[in-house]
C-alpha cells in the first residue's frame, strides 16, 4: 500500500469553521488546508495546491468575503484532486498547480458542482453535469488540456485541445466548464 492510499483510509477532519485557516488580506487571500496530523504524500501535494490557490486568490481582486461560502466547496474539491493526483502516481507538480487553479477559478465563477475524477487513460478529470450533458476538462501528466463536451445527442459531442505554453488556456477552459 502506498502512502497515498494509506492516507485515504484515514479519517478526514475538516475544520469546524471553514474560515479557521483562512486569513483574508486587504488584497487577495491566504488559503491553508491543514487537517492532517501526520506527514504524507497527500500533505506534500496539498502544500503545492495551497500555493496555487493563493496565486489564484492574488490574481482575483474581485474576491471578497461574500464569496467565502464557496471555501468549503473549494476545500473538498482540492482534497479530491490531491487524492486523484496521488492515486494516478503523478509527480509533475506543475500539473497539480494547473488543476488547482482551474478548480479555484471555476469555483470563483460560481461553478459549485464540480466533480473530480480520472479517466480510463490515467488523466485527471474535472467535470460538471448540466441537464444531462457533461463538460469535461481532462489534464494529462504533461500538463496538456483537453476540453470534451459530451452532448445529449452524442453526435454533437466535441473536443478541443490546449497544449502547454498556450496563452490564456486556463481561462478558456474554465469558461467552458
Amino acid at each position: 500500500m502506498t502512502n497515498a492510499s494509506a492516507t485515504l483510509n484515514r479519517p478526514i477532519v475538516v475544520n469546524e469553521s471553514p474560515f479557521n485557516n483562512l486569513n483574508v488580506k486587504e488584497r487577495g487571500s491566504v488559503f491553508h488546508i491543514s487537517e492532517y496530523a501526520n506527514s504524507s504524500a497527500l500533505d506534500s501535494t496539498l502544500e503545492i495546491s495551497t500555493g496555487a490557490i493563493n496565486e489564484a486568490f492574488e490574481a482575483n481582486l474581485d474576491f471578497n468575503k461574500s464569496q467565502m461560502g464557496t471555501i468549503n466547496i473549494l476545500q473538498r474539491n482540492i482534497l479530491d484532486l490531491n487524492r486523484i493526483y496521488n492515486q494516478l502516481g503523478y509527480s509533475n507538480n506543475s500539473v497539480l498547480s494547473l488543476a488547482t487553479k482551474i478548480i479555484t477559478n471555476s469555483v470563483f465563477e460560481g461553478k459549485r458542482d464540480l466533480k473530480i475524477s480520472h479517466t480510463g487513460d490515467n488523466e485527471i478529470l474535472i467535470f460538471r453535469e448540466i441537464n444531462g450533458e457533461f463538460n469535461n476538462i481532462i489534464i494529462d501528466d504533461y500538463g496538456d488540456i483537453e476540453f470534451m463536451k459530451i452532448a445529449k445527442n452524442m453526435q454533437e459531442s466535441y473536443n478541443e485541445h490546449y497544449y502547454s505554453g498556450e496563452l490564456g488556456r486556463e481561462a478558456k477552459v474554465v469558461s467552458k466548464l
Partner: protein
C-alpha cells in the same frame, strides 16, 4: 482460479469456458460500457480498463451489475458492434519526425473473460501507418491491448500529432455509445 463471488450467476462465470474469436461478434450484438454517474469518461479502476465492455451475446442487460464490477459503477452506455467496427480516426503526420505518413486508428473487439465476468471484452486499438491518405501502401501495423495501449500512450505523450490523434479517436469511440432509452 475460479470465481469466488457467490452472487455471480453460474453462466456468467468463466470457469474455463471457451474464448470466442473476433468473428463471433455479430454486427447486431451490443457492447455495454459501465460508467460512474453516466459520464462516459469516468471509467473505473480495477480489472475494468478504459477499453472494457460487456458483450450482449453472453450477458443480458438485467445482469450487468450482477457480475464482478469495480466499485462505484452505476450506469452504462451501449453500442452496436457494427458501429464500433466502423469507428476510426486518421490523419497525416508530416511534422518532420519519425513514422511520417497517414495514421489510422480503428477498433478490434476481443473477448477477454475474467473469472467473475465471462462477458468481459475489450475494444483493442489497431494502429496502421500508410504511405498516404489513399491507404493503399501499408507501412506498419500494430494492435494494442489495454496494457500495450497505455504504454503506447505514455510513449506518445511527447508527440503532439499522436497525442491528438489518440484523444480524437477516444472521442469518436465514445460517440458510438449511447445511454439506454
Amino acid at each position: 482460479m475460479a470465481c469466488n463471488l457467490g452472487s455471480v450467476p453460474a453462466h456468467l462465470q468463466w470457469n474455463g469456458k471457451p474464448i470466442y474469436t473476433e468473428a463471433d461478434f455479430a454486427n447486431e450484438h451490443n457492447l455495454y460500457r459501465l460508467t460512474i454517474d453516466k459520464n462516459p469518461l469516468t471509467f473505473p479502476s480495477g480489472q475494468t480498463t478504459g477499453i472494457s465492455c460487456k458483450w450482449s451475446f453472453i450477458i443480458a442487460v438485467e445482469d450487468l451489475f450482477k457480475v464482478e464490477n469495480p466499485k462505484g459503477v452505476n450506469s452504462y452506455y451501449l453500442a452496436v458492434v457494427s458501429d464500433i467496427l466502423s469507428c476510426f480516426k486518421s490523419g497525416n503526420k508530416d511534422d518532420g519526425g519519425t513514422n511520417l505518413g497517414w495514421h489510422k486508428l480503428t477498433c478490434i473487439i476481443s473477448h477477454t473473460p475474467i473469472e467473475c465476468d465471462y462477458s468481459h471484452c475489450e475494444i483493442n486499438v489497431r494502429h496502421q501507418i500508410f504511405e498516404d491518405s489513399s491507404e493503399h501502401n501499408l507501412l506498419s501495423e500494430a494492435v494494442y491491448t489495454s496494457d500495450a495501449w497505455e504504454a503506447c500512450m505514455l510513449n506518445s505523450k511527447s508527440n503532439k500529432f499522436i497525442k491528438t490523434l489518440r484523444k480524437d479517436y477516444r472521442l469518436e469511440l465514445i460517440k458510438k455509445f449511447a445511454l439506454p432509452t
